[in-house]
Amino acid sequence: MTKRFGDVVAVDDLSLEVKPGEFFALLGPSGCGKTTTLRMIGGFEEVTSGSVYLGDTDVTDLPPFKRATNTVFQNYALFPHLTVFENIAFGLRRRKTPTNEIRHQVAFMLKLVELPGYEDRKPNQLSGGQQQRVALARALVNNPRVLLLDEPLGALDLKLRKQMQVELKRIQSEIGITFIFVTHDQEEAMTMSDRIAVMRAGRIEQLGQPEELYERPRTDFVAGFLGVSNLIDADVAGRDERFATLRLDGGTLLRAPAAYVNGAPRVRLGVRPEKLRVIALNDDTGDSVDADTNALDGTVLDASYIGVSTQYLVETPDGHKLTVYAQNLETSGAGEVLADGQRVRLTWKPQHTFVIGPAIGPMPAGDAELEEEPQVHA
């Protein structure tokens, strides 16, 4: 689907399938079209072109009040003139639910979000976190097929945010409703979601499970947005069954899983900082490197001791700067930190190398199993 506001293309020919019961995150920087996408699914924004399906039903032209979706708005949008009870009962009353049933369901919801006893409060007598829970209860009580959440934790402080992340996850697994969750916090998306769509400028850059996105980003943007990556340009020099050989401009040969390379002669390879092992090079250290290992030599530019780990910035002879996170495993203390200017060798396993090519083929595996009918399809 596509959404245009005048000349601005907010969402650009985006396709997306969400499975039933899934915790799905839309992740991306500010202004990339996450809210707009969510609003098109909820029916608040007209779709310029394309369509939205809920299960098998085309809901593209249905108004929000006829869609089996409910939304937790960014600033909660609780009705200030109604009590907590009436806020939660609002959707039930629209469906002419009997009063007894309403009382039951509201009580159940308040228990679920751990706010029993707050029925008679007005929204302005609640803290931010409490308002957030009421907004959640107000949406969930309608038993929607899909719950849409637009940065629901954005207004909370860090501690409460962490706590609510756990709560949200618990509630979602307790009731088994599909959640589509918008956030620009990569850590939040990683810890909570079953799958993540990373968005940029109205398009999906990459879609997959958190591990997949982290271990095998397919674009520079994803590699940089989710955590820290070391990226180096290289030519493809050859390949066998398991590994492709890549030649850096300085001549060093490195290996990456063959499945990641798809015929493009020039690619960009990447490796995560925590995958690198750093060894101090002395005069007596030989050139011999284990054949199953990638190795790069360099010089320590900067070292910072952070407690659990030490962060190094290492420069290779051909000018690449690599970040390394070395776990402080040995009980040796700060004395073990390598000094600036120390010559070092960085080693890592070839299977920890990922490749970003100019033309990316299909993912090796993992994306195809969609045995269930997709629940949201846009």
Binding site: P63, F79, F90, N142
Partner: protein, 290 residues
């Protein structure tokens, strides 16, 4: 040593000499209360005099010197159709004009804040014209309009005229309230299954109601005491201000004070009710379970 045994004696602070305020400072301290007192007196003296003289028992038609206390003015009033007639006319006109202008004005106010349409900027300016035009001009032009159209002038034409100038005030008052309204609340209502009408009834209207109420009170107040425009379009019907003006040319009878006092009391009640309803909305409730 005794000196160390009583260290407090030496630590005691020197007594600070009391500084006498200068004459200038004392005067300046008096200025604000005196000024405030004078201003309040200026505002309320006429009303106090009006109320006092509504209980006067004057000898003739002139009600300007205190003769003695009586409640007769209040009792006799209701048996005099020449007074109750205009009063009832005024109430009818004010109620009808308030209802019409509040409804129309609210809708216009919503359209002006909510929707982009051709001529919106123009309309936003036009709305101010009735407020800015001198009443005497409006009255005269309305009269010539009604005469040239051959319209019979009675309470209906008064209502039409009042609606016309009330609408501007209603729009301006309501618009301010709607501008501060969070649209996400309406989206939330629709998200929860309310259609457009239910959303308006259950969410939009209750939330902009204080603005509408304020606008209605203002319209009622403007309508009930309008003299200039009403004079032009009244034909042979008489409203309360027209009656007061008529009798006052021969001296102010106590009935005028009585009606003035009654209106003042009603206004006080309205204000009290509004303040009370706002207070009630704000007051926090106790923690649950305590």
């Amino acid at each position: 040593m005794t000196a160390t045994a009583f260290p407090a004696a030496t630590d005691r602070p020197e007594p600070v000499p009391i500084r006498r305020p200068t004459v200038g400072a004392r005067i300046s301290r008096l200025v604000l209360p005196v000024f405030t007192g004078v201003a309040v007196l200026y505002l309320f003296l006429p009303i106090a005099v009006m109320i006092a003289f509504s209980f006067n028992d004057p000898a003739g038609r002139q009600n300007i010197t205190w003769q003695g206390f009586t409640l007769r003015n209040y009792v006799d009033l209701w048996g005099r159709p020449d007074i109750t007639g205009p009063m009832v006319n005024s109430l009818i006109v004010a109620v009808v004009a308030t209802l019409i202008s509040t409804t129309l004005g609210t809708l216009i106010g919503m359209a002006l804040t909510r929707y982009e349409f051709k001529g919106r900027t123009g309309l936003n300016l036009l709305i101010f014209i009735p407020m800015a035009t001198p009443e005497i001009i409006m009255g005269a032009s309305l009269l010539s309009l009604f005469v040239s159209a051959g319209v019979q002038r009675d309470l209906t034409t008064i209502v039409i005229a009042h609606v016309m100038f009330n609408i501007s005030y209603v729009v301006v008052t309501v618009r301010a309230r709607i501008a501060g309204f969070n649209r996400a609340l309406e989206e939330a209502a629709m998200d929860l299954g309310a259609n457009e009408w239910t959303t308006f009834r259950k969410v939009t209207f209750p939330l902009i109601f204080p603005g509408i109420l304020a606008a209605a009170l203002l319209a009622f107040a403007l309508s009930i005491d309008d003299y200039v425009i009403t004079l032009f379009v009244a034909g042979r019907s008489i409203t309360f201000p027209l009656w007061v003006f008529g009798v006052s040319r021969l001296g102010v009878p106590p009935e005028v004070n009585v009606l003035g006092t009654l209106i003042f009391v009603v206004a006080l009640v309205f204000i009290a009710v509004q303040i009370w309803s706002q207070r009630r909305a704000i007051v926090a409730r106790p923690e649950p379970g305590t």
